[in-house]
Amino acid sequence: MGAITLEKVTKEFSGVKVIPGVDLEIAHGEFVVFVGPSGCGKSTLLRLIAGLEDVSSGTIRIDGVDATGLAPARRSLAMVFQSYALYPHMSVYKNIAFPLKMAGMPEADIKAKVEAAARTLNLTDYLDRRPGQLSGGQRQRVAIGRAIVREPEAFLFDEPLSNLDAALRVNMRLEISELHQSLKTTMIYVTHDQVEAMTMADKIVVLHAGRIEQVGSPLELYRNPANVFVAGFIGSPKMNLIEGAPAAKYNARTIGVRPEHIQLSTESGEWAGVVGVAEHLGSDTFLHVQVEGIGQVTARISGELNIHHGDRVWLTPPPERIHRFDGEGTAI
């Protein structure tokens, strides 16, 4: 099992409310991603679940049991840190074996478990090395190995990929997703990268200033953002958010339209503008268009286009793809 429930959880740091009050249900086996800009409280929330920080008020339940006051080690959770947090003076073998040794497991069982984990993570040849002699990706694998040997109820990942280069990040992302498929254990993953969130999560929790803005599957958030913040945060390139007269036309304070939904024409359309920057990626073309009376609008057009800086274009947002928000920024 590995169901985690947060009830009215708050956290204050010297009088400042970092988490003003969070209620959240995480089902057994779910891959949940906490996403939000830096300083939104996502890491704090993870550390509260881990027990590395004490909650100011509220309850944390793990499998229905109140774990609010339990020490980190007694919550049967395993954590993978951003800095890997490997023990620099121990070999890879000893790093992975450490939690088992702390649990007082017999040496022979430890050996079997460590070797099995090393095989899963392709670390068999590195068991005698020290963390300092490994690459970033290998260190991350050791950290994951140390987490899986404990067979925890849930894994907590705190921005585990942000110290890796872009190519390795994509690989590790896949490996973690595959790990989740094979272990079927609850995973809570913190990231500021919405692409990681979209690609890995069963459920995304979007956080902003310590509050949950929206909880839902990646596509739910993409299709029906609850407010302007989620609309702007989920999706790449960012959703175009437009205020003023063009929005009033749709009876809204703000309207939003995703770059990939905008229709492009070189002859006619709703919004006329001049191409500022055209980014040709081959698979897509990103056009940053200076639209009269609106400002910059980004359009993402599939395939290769013969459009360049200074060209005059017309953009049309399909009415069914327009997101409408009221004065509070809430979706209408």
């Binding site: 010297s14 881990a50 590395l52 020490a71 980190p72 080690a73 959770l77 395993a78 954590m79 840190f81 951003q82 800095s83 947090a85 490997l86 023990y87 620099p88 003076h89 450490f98 939690p99 702390m102 649990a103 140390r146 404990r150």
Partner: protein, 276 residues
């Protein structure tokens, strides 16, 4: 062209560094050389640098007149004792300040450092009187205690900077992995902190060994360490340069040898925190 300019600059810098180094080392070299001269040669003008009659006579004379070994033993006891006691107090203090800092941790650290800004002579009277009324004048205990307190701010600061370098996440990982506080200290913290504790230990032994103000003021014969032994050659019967030099050489030799062998640790300890 550019490469040549860099090369010339390197040569100039190297020459300058050697010049500074030798200038600093010269008094020590001169002391060592003088210790092998006769009293007459020691004060001769112009002085002879290397071409004199080398003799060990001064060393025998110094040993005959005063008991070198007793003073050396005092130095060992005082420097090891004050450093050991200092570490015993400073490790938990630095630990607490590095890993669970409070609102005023920075202020406490600054306050401790500020005590080093007070000239030692400013507290000579009270400390002398306290030692006198406790009957601790000319005792090793008094020196161990006083030197421990004098060096404590430096020990705490060094250890604090060192502990600060141990990433908190590693300790948290240990906690997540099920280590109790005791196991966390034994298996994770101590092995990682040993180099820092070692270099702090070495530096403080050196500081305590060379300390002259308190050792001269609080001892006379029984507890007098090597610093007092040197000083005894510059007084009543006039100046005996050669014997004074021999005494000095004998006094600095042990610490010089220790410093030489632990150079790596010392440099690491002193520059720790400066470069990541």
């Amino acid at each position: 062209m550019a490469r040549e300019a860099t090369r010339n600059r390197k040569i100039a810098f190297t020459a300058f560094a050697w010049l500074v180094g030798l200038t600093l080392f010269f008094p020590i070299l001169w002391t060592i050389l003088t210790s092998f001269k006769t009293e007459g040669e020691a004060i001769a003008t112009p002085p002879s640098l290397l071409f004199f009659e080398w003799s060990l006579e001064n060393y025998f004379e110094v040993q005959r007149r005063s008991n070198y070994l007793r003073h050396a033993m005092n130095s060992v006891v005082i420097s090891l004792g004050s450093t050991g006691l200092g570490l015993l107090v400073a490790i938990p203090a630095a630990w607490a300040m590095a890993f669970s800092p409070g609102k005023h941790t920075k202020d406490i650290l600054m306050w401790m450092l500020s005590t080093k800004m007070l000239p030692a002579v400013g507290v000579l009277m009270p400390i002398y009187l306290i030692c006198q009324s406790l009957g601790l004048l000319d005792s090793r205990i008094a020196l161990v205690a006083v030197l421990m307190m004098m060096n404590l701010p430096i020990i705490v600061w060094m250890l604090y900077t060192y502990f600060k370098e141990i990433p908190g996440e590693i300790l948290e990982a240990a906690r997540m992995d099920g280590a109790s506080l005791g196991k966390e200290i034994v298996y994770v913290l101590t092995p990682m902190a040993v180099p820092g504790i070692a270099s702090t230990l070495l530096l403080n032994i050196i500081l305590a060994w060379n300390e002259a103000f308190w050792t001269l003021n609080l001892t006379s014969s029984q507890a007098a360490p090597l610093t007092a032994f040197i000083a005894s050659y510059s007084s009543p019967e006039g100046l005996f340069w050669a014997k004074l030099s021999a005494a000095s050489t004998l006094a600095i030799a042990p610490i010089l040898v220790m410093g030489w062998f632990s150079q790596k640790q010392l440099v690491r300890g002193l520059t720790f925190g400066a470069v990541k």
